[in-house]
């Protein structure tokens, strides 16, 4: 990404925030109060920062997963299901004989990768061999995964004595994601995400694999002439995406909830689709915007306490941000503003 793109995105960001401010004003809410509450809610204490991180991790992972599938021209609506399957895979290990062993989280990670990747693979195979559109199969597989999770929670994995949808038994502490010393900071997850970001950046910009993925997304038919098959790269992209979404599921069960709940994905999969759309597959931007979204989600709880505003305001802010961003992208106002700036500066 060149410097000019960054500037344009920055101006677009400011404009989108301004639009949201006006929207809040029209509701009779002071936007500065909201900003303040959100900031305190997400970064006000060390504990809150950790909670923000624990939301940022799955959103980031799901977004990167989608960057792969969008690169190959695929709409991975099945991302939610892939997160849930990852969570189920991790839970399976946490509840097994390994559950009280220190090695459990690492095995969970591998299982989550496998389960999520497999769920993505099904979608890809249906697309490539069966000609099923990935949106339909993805949506279907989301429901199936969600159904499996509910079945396990009220069936085989129910808590002793009661069967409720509130989730499974809390995991043994050895199965929780390791933290540093006395702090609760999930350094292990943090490292994984940073690694995934760096690796993805390198893979997509510096390798033939990344270029071929991108080429597949642009012209499915032309790839044959360059001695590779689009179909194979679609399958690769879905397996990678599924595996990354699986890690997001692992982060949810072993990092946030410490148990499997029916809503384990937290809707982060669908949120990430919006996020990647506004970031147009740009990794730097994804890094920043996913962080903001995480802060917004965690900080939202403060709105109720501090300002007596409903938590649903967070949804409104999120949605209007995405919408204004997309409209601004279309209108291309930033370029004009940038031109005016540069004219003024040169004078």
């Amino acid at each position: 990404m060149n410097f000019n793109d960054l500037k344009i995105n920055f101006i677009r960001f400011i404009l989108a925030i301004l639009i949201i401010f006006f929207l809040l004003l029209s509701f009779g809410i002071n936007p500065l109060d909201v900003t303040n509450a959100l900031f305190i809610g997400s970064f006000g204490s060390f504990e809150k920062i950790i909670r923000t991180m624990l939301v940022w991790v799955p959103i980031s992972l799901a977004s990167i997963a989608l960057i792969y599938t969008f690169s190959s021209g695929m709409w991975n609506i099945g991302i939610e299901g892939q997160i849930i399957m990852g969570a189920i895979g991790a839970t399976f290990i946490a509840r097994s004989f390994l559950g009280d062993n220190f090695i459990s989280p690492y095995i969970q990670l591998i299982m989550a990768l496998g389960f999520g990747g497999f769920w993505g693979f099904i979608c890809a195979i249906l697309k490539v061999k069966g000609g099923v559109h990935e949106i339909f199969s993805g949506l279907g597989l989301d429901f199936v995964a969600s159904g499996i999770a509910i079945y396990l929670i009220i069936g085989p994995w129910k808590r002793k004595g009661i069967a409720s949808t509130s989730g499974t038994e809390i995991f043994h502490e050895s199965s929780w994601i390791p933290t540093v010393g006395n702090l609760d900071f999930p350094i292990f997850l943090f490292l994984i995400v940073i690694l995934v970001y760096v690796f993805t950046y390198f893979l997509l910009s510096q390798t033939s694999f990344g270029l071929r993925l991108k080429a597949t997304g642009i012209n499915f038919f032309a790839t044959n002439r360059f001695n590779f098959s689009s179909e194979r790269y679609i399958i690769y992209s879905f397996i990678i995406a599924g595996a990354l979404a699986g890690i997001a599921g692992f982060s949810q069960v072993s990092g946030s909830y410490h148990k499997l709940v029916p809503t384990i994905s937290g809707g982060f999969g669908f949120l990430s689709i919006l996020l990647v759309l506004i970031c147009s597959r740009n990794i730097f931007l994804t890094f920043i915007i996913s962080f903001l979204f995480a802060a917004l989600i965690v900080g939202g709880s403060q709105l109720q306490i501090k300002l007596d505003l409903d938590h649903s305001l967070v949804g409104i802010i999120q949605a209007s941000f995405v919408l204004s961003w997309l409209i601004l992208q279309r209108v291309n106002l930033e370029k004009k503003i940038l031109n005016i700036f540069s004219k003024v500066l040169t004078k």
Partner: protein, 479 residues
């Protein structure tokens, strides 16, 4: 219905597409003939009101009509049947009639209209269920339905723009039957085509256009020799193939009955020297492009390109260039640089963008591509895109499979293209290309395969042929 065109002229910039064209059609089926770029489609567009001529007038039944508006043309009873059916595939036949109906008021009397339509279909002996969806019919049937729909809307003059290019023989018969019946109702048909056999079969009169001018007017019975001479003249020869020393290695082409019909067999023993240029001549819509493509994708059961020992030539030695550049050839959202990187993506795991840039700049120079290496390919002109495609083919010797390598290019770009292609002749195993331009086929091929529809009419080396023969073969005529 009599239609007269008087002194129609139309130019686009410096290009004169129509020059003082005057045609008088008393009725019946009139053929409009000519090669690609002769000015047929411009003239048709003027008649159907899509273009306004610079000069000239059109008279229908000796009455001058206004030009330049499709609506006026329709009101004057001029209708057009396009190459591909322009209908509503998702509607039923009845619905499609109602949608296009200009006569009825907002609330239409369905029963009465239905009766009227049924009568019409009966008159033309076409038996179809009006409630069936259009998409369930064959293309031939759809064109028939379109014809009747035009008729239902009161059309008196019908222009058919190469209507049979996608038809099977039966479908063609169906349409021709309908056309013959139409002429009996005093409906005039203008039949645009370059398939001479069809013209001989059904037309009553005809006009040949060349470079925007009327060069020949004809009436039944047709003098086929004169027509050939007028359509394809031999003045433009530009054989630039310099004699290259004969190469001892051989390859062979094999065409199996399972994959196509053949009139003439190419004996399997006749091996071709490495470096032979094989031109596949055929009209638009014939299988000539498909032959080239299937050689690459190996969609044929047995036909293909082989070494003289009978082995298939390996897939990675087949270098294919499709006719539709952006649809199947290039990646419109990628830069030139990224394209060059893709050509080496099977060798390099990591991309060294600096090396790629140096390599790319060299290729851009060598192939005379007028573009910057960081530009996206959809910003390039057709000629530059075509040369880029050529520059992306591996340098190591292989079989070049070129689908209409100069399609849509102007004279100079086409020449440049061939300079580059001929340059590869001395190293490559073979160069196989398809074209609808007989001059191009004649100028550059060593072996010429003539194709009409799905049939191979003739395969022979150039010495044993002449241009007129090829013109006959691709028109589906065997002497």
């Amino acid at each position: 219905m009599k239609i007269e065109l008087k002194n129609i002229s139309k130019s686009f910039g410096s290009l004169e597409a129509n020059k003082e064209i005057s045609i008088s059609i008393p009725g019946g089926i009139h053929a409009l003939l000519g090669e690609n770029g002769a000015g047929k489609s411009t003239l048709v567009k003027i008649i159907s009101g899509q273009l306004n001529p610079d000069k000239g007038s059109i008279l229908i039944s000796d009455k001058k009509i206004n030009l330049g508006s499709p609506k006026i043309a329709i009101n004057n009873g001029i209708g057009m049947l396009n190459q591909n059916p322009l209908d509503f595939a998702n509607l039923s036949v009845l619905e499609s009639f109602l949608v296009g109906n200009t006569q009825n008021s907002f609330i239409s009397n369905h029963r009465k209209t239905k009766e009227k339509i049924l009568n019409l279909f009966d008159n033309y002996d076409i038996k179809i269920d009006l409630n069936e969806k259009i998409s369930s019919f064959s293309i031939g049937q759809r064109q028939q339905i379109e014809l009747l729909r035009l008729l239902y809307n009161g059309v008196k003059i019908i222009i058919l723009d190469e209507p049979t290019s996608a038809f099977s023989l039966e479908q063609k018969k169906m349409i021709f039957d309908t056309l013959n019946k139409l002429t009996k109702e005093d409906i005039t048909i203008i039949f645009v085509s370059h398939k001479l056999d069809e013209v001989f079969e059904i037309c009553d009169s005809g006009t040949i256009l060349k470079e925007g001018k009327v060069v020949y007017s004809m009436n039944k019975p047709f003098d086929s020799d004169a027509i050939f001479a007028k359509m394809f003249d031999d003045t433009r020869t530009k054989n630039k193939i310099t004699n290259i020393e004969k190469r001892s290695d051989k390859f062979k082409l094999f065409f199996d009955e399972l994959d196509m019909t053949k009139h003439k067999t190419f004996s399997n023993e006749s091996l071709l020297d490495f470096g032979t240029i094989v031109g596949i001549a055929g009209l638009q819509g014939s299988m000539n492009d498909r032959l080239v493509k299937n050689f690459f994708s190996r969609d044929f059961s047995k036909s293909g390109i082989f070494f003289d020992n009978g082995d298939y030539i390996e897939k990675n030695k087949l270098y294919y260039m499709p006719a539709d550049r952006l649809e199947r050839g290039l990646f419109e959202d990628l830069t030139l640089k990224e394209h060059f990187a893709l050509t080496y993506s099977h060798i390099n795991k990591y991309i060294n963008w600096n090396d790629i840039a140096i390599y790319g700049e060299k290729k851009i120079q060598e192939y005379d591509i007028k573009a910057n290496i960081t530009q996206k390919v959809d910003q390039l002109s057709g000629g530059n895109q075509q040369r880029l495609m050529l520059s992306l083919l591996p340098e190591s010797p292989g079989v070049l499979l070129l689908e209409q390598p100069t399609r849509g290019l102007d004279y100079n770009s086409a020449n440049k293209m061939w300079d580059i292609i001929l340059h590869r002749k001395k190293n490559d195993i073979a160069i196989i290309f398809s074209s609808t331009d007989l001059d191009e086929i004649w100028d550059y091929s060593d072996i010429i395969i003539s194709v009409s529809g799905n049939t191979i009419m003739n395969i022979d080396s150039k010495q044993n042929l002449n241009k007129e023969n090829i013109a006959r073969y691709v028109s589906g005529i065997i002497d």
